[in-house]
Amino acid sequence: MAGTPSEEGGGLTQRVAGLRVSSKYLAYLVPLGAVLFALLIGTIMLLALDTSPIEGFQALFDGAFGSTDALIETSLKATPLLFVGVGITIAFRANVINIGGEGQMVAGGLLATMAALFLPTWPAFIMLPTVILAGLLGGAIWGAVPGYLKAYFGVNEILSTIMLNVVAVQLMNYLLRDPLIDPAEIERGTRIPQTERLQEGADLPLLFGSDRLHIGPLLAIIAAILAYILLWRTPLGYRLRAVGQNQDAARYAGIPVKRTITLALTLSGALCGLAGAVLVFGSEGHRMVTDGSTAGFTGSAGFNGIVAALFGGLHPIFTIPASFLFGGLLVGGISLQRAVQVPSALILALNGLVVIFVVSTDRYRQRLRDQDARRDALASAGASAVPPAGPDPGGGEP
């Protein structure tokens, strides 16, 4: 899963000489190819549903990016995708596959909600950091468990994270239907599984005088930048990537592999937990609510975040525009439904195809990259002893 623009160092000079397709370009071609592929399938599906694709895509684009309100909605929708995408990236960089974003979001949302419910009414400047930290902690716990089980018992993290998704949804249903339920729901007898309006100190502050846009997107972008710094500018990030590339070599180099794996999933979960907290405190109702499924709370961001991360080449910075794009698709899907009566589930189906496209071409890209590397090595050997030129953009080890 190393299809990032960041990892191909060197080869800069050679590329200018010939017209051969460099892996450098290829890294950017893949997202483009994935978009075209998804557009193509989308067009076929719209045609099959007796809908004008032009009208459909127009509605989708307008709904996602066509107005200030649309852009705000898109940013809000992109926020959990970005948190999850960055979290997934950290895990994947350590060669740990985190499928548990959904459960970690729920765990983060629940712990943050409980903090807001049970702590006394505090002013925002204390309350807000507290609940955000609680969200982070909830997700971290939900990530640490599979991380620990993988590192010390060899339990496959794909399966344990999936099973913890199942546990999280039951836990959420239990808590929101009974101990945490809004007392008014019991009085009215409606019993919607949701909490009461949480204390105002925990509301995410709004930006630019908007009544919708809160600081969530900003927090997510900061998290992405911090993750980038962590991965490529700190010893810890170096250890994470070293373990991801070659565990044995990392072990010989004296890196505590087990602790690093546990930490990778813990950090990954923490970011997903943040996504859960932001969903709760940035929601219009300022409360946690479910419909009995994880998606009812997360909007499937735990899975769609994987799509954004893959699309961003598993690089935190590139995941920012990728999340924005996929957030836009999800928002635009609703306009699509309104305009041409095509269910917005279409977007989810297309997201699935994007994932398949990106991972299916990965092996092919890897092969081309290897060829490039060999050719570059030969070329530089021939030109004798000019060290690979140029600092690579972000891939450079400290």
Partner: protein, 310 residues
Amino acid sequence: MSQFFTEAVLIATIASAIRFSVPLLLAGLGEAFGQRSGVLNLGVDGVMLLGAFGGYYAVLKTDNVWLGLLVGLGIGLLLGVISAFITVTLKAEQGISGIGVFLFGLGMSDLLFQRLVGTPRPIDTFPRIELPLLGDIPWIGEMFFRQSLVVYLAFLAVPFSMFVINHTTFGMKIRAVGENPEAADSLGVSVAKVRYATMLIGGTLAGIAGAALAINLGIFQQNITNAQGFIAIALVYFGAWRPLGVMLGALLYGFVNSLVIQWKTLGIIPDSLSDIAAMAPAIITILALVVVATRFRAPAALTKPFERGG
């Protein structure tokens, strides 16, 4: 609590537990074939969802439950081919490509349902078949031998799978390819062909499992599987890659689900506590994953694409 321990309720609980376990059992057996050959197919839930919609829609239109099951089978077969192409031919990362198949199935089944059906309408369910003699055994007969044909076939698939995996040439090839593909390849076994075959079996069984789920419930709704496809994958680990183990796991889930529903219906425990009870199988599965990881060995080539000389 005493109302629970009546003959009728106990029998009904067991009987429905067996029905609940069928989709998990079928999907889990199919996944076991794939994993024994070295392929972790994470797309099961997506295949089940599309199989469920296909089966539901066919029954809605024709009132023929067997045609519904056949449609589920066909969809599963098709998706099996596609999944095999992605993981075997294109050698995509198995842990993630399956999530793509899942998202596709989740979105597509919902899209088709909203577009073609709209409001949920109930459909026919499988007819019960009372086995002669066995069905007359008191208690046991009512629990086990007054089920639908699908139930009998699903449980017969267990010894059949054991036989295929352990006692046939094909099974030997599956195991060889899953443990040591290089050696199998050098002996002239086509790794790709064997893996295609197991992926087709897995896809087909997942499609049938989905259709059986929808037709058994007599409805379709968005995300009807509720992660059962993922649980089926975990059950293969739970059962240490053995069909019998998969069956035990499926029965455990079926039993707890059935128990929780009975308790709810009888009002023995409040709804909220049933959510806690429903957590039990998932937690047991996680514990089982730990035990299996320390005691048993996964097929050595699991999740590793095969490349000759690589």
